[in-house]
């Protein structure tokens, strides 16, 4: 809780009115406005004249003490989910706490909205069909969302190739995966619904089946970028049911 409260972002004086407006917009209930000291109270009362009375709860705080603890108590006392701490320190400083606190990065700047997680790599794979090696192109792809230090992906993979005798074999999987989002190495794993397919030599027909499968991946970040990382991916997957191709692919592509 303390950490959550402390995640507030200090704003400069000119944006005091903006900060209050944003806090009101981000919060369902009233916003606790907590001026610290007489000077801050004066400035705050003037500001509150321009906002609806039921949108804010004025809760003055004394100087000194632990700011985080004081703001936590202010949130409890006012039953508000958002509070603004207003201080005079060479200028007006506004620090949001609680629900309306902007997410921040490690260096204290406001974190931008994160785009969807994605993965798209192309390369080659070796599939083993009942012990017979089949080499061919491979694609690994996924799209999903970011979490704290990981991402979930709707994962897709496809590879195809020919046996040494010329049989055309295909293997694909669609599933859900969980992958870390490190800057050097990423690890992923998931479950899939897999489909295997063979074009018959005898009559040209297609035979195959579906079944449960799993995949595991080790992805190395070759180029770390804010928007699109270059990944070298080593991925293994397999069908746990009948038809069992085991696939190992080395692919290169983009992700985030």
């Amino acid at each position: 809780m303390i950490a959550l409260l402390a995640s507030g972002l200090a704003l400069a004086s000119p944006s005091l009115e903006d900060a209050l407006q944003q806090a009101i917009e981000r919060t369902d209930g009233p916003v606790a406005v907590c001026p610290v000291g007489a000077s801050a109270q004066t400035a705050t009362r003037r500001l509150l004249e321009s906002v609806p009375a039921d949108a804010v709860i004025l809760h003055p705080l004394p100087r000194g003490g632990d700011p985080d603890q004081a703001m936590q108590q202010a949130l409890s006392a006012t039953r508000a989910t958002c509070a603004l701490r207003i201080e005079v320190d060479g200028g007006l400083l506004v620090t949001p706490f609680g629900e309306c606190a902007a997410p921040t990065t490690a260096d204290g700047t406001e974190a931008p909205d994160r785009p969807p997680a994605y993965l798209l790599t192309l390369g080659a794979a070796r599939a083993s069909w009942f012990g017979v090696p089949v080499y061919g192109p491979a694609v690994n792809a996924g799209i999903g969302g970011h979490m704290a230090s990981a991402a979930w992906l709707v994962h897709f993979e496809l590879t195809r190739g020919r046996t040494p005798e010329g049989l055309l074999m295909s293997y694909g999987g669609l599933g859900l995966g969980l992958e870390t989002t490190g800057h050097v190495v990423r690890v992923g794993a998931g479950v899939e619904l897999t489909a295997s397919r063979m074009v018959r030599a005898t009559d040209g027909g297609v035979v195959g089946g579906v079944g449960p499968g799993v995949y595991g991946a080790l992805r190395f970040v070759a180029v770390d970028s804010d928007t699109a990382d270059v990944l070298v991916s080593l991925q293994a997957s397999g069908n746990l049911g009948a038809g069992t191709p085991a696939v190992v692919g080395l692919t290169v592509g983009m992700g985030n």
């Binding site: 010329g166 005898t202 089946g209 009948a242």
Partner: protein
Amino acid sequence: MVDPKYLVLWTLATVLPGCGLQQSTFHCERAVAHLQSCCDDLDVPDVCADGLFNDAEPPLDSDTVDCILATPCGDARQVCDALNLHQEALEESSWLGGDDPDSGDTGLGVCP
């Protein structure tokens, strides 16, 4: 947002055992593919069972498959002729509604 019913179907599909290609069918097709590269007149659409939802065993046992795969094209004429004859027997059996002409004998004697 994904419709929950599709999520349930997907979960069931990934949890339940799958169905797929039978190993014996796969190797039978490999043997035929190998012979097709040797014999232009090889036409044996029925010599390998479906392999899917089908309990019938392919007519070529694993020893025969291994033998065919090891047979160079120069020596494959006899094997192709034997398979073509077996295909004809399968077709006649199908027309007459009789038993598999080689049921119980999956070696067929096609490979020396």
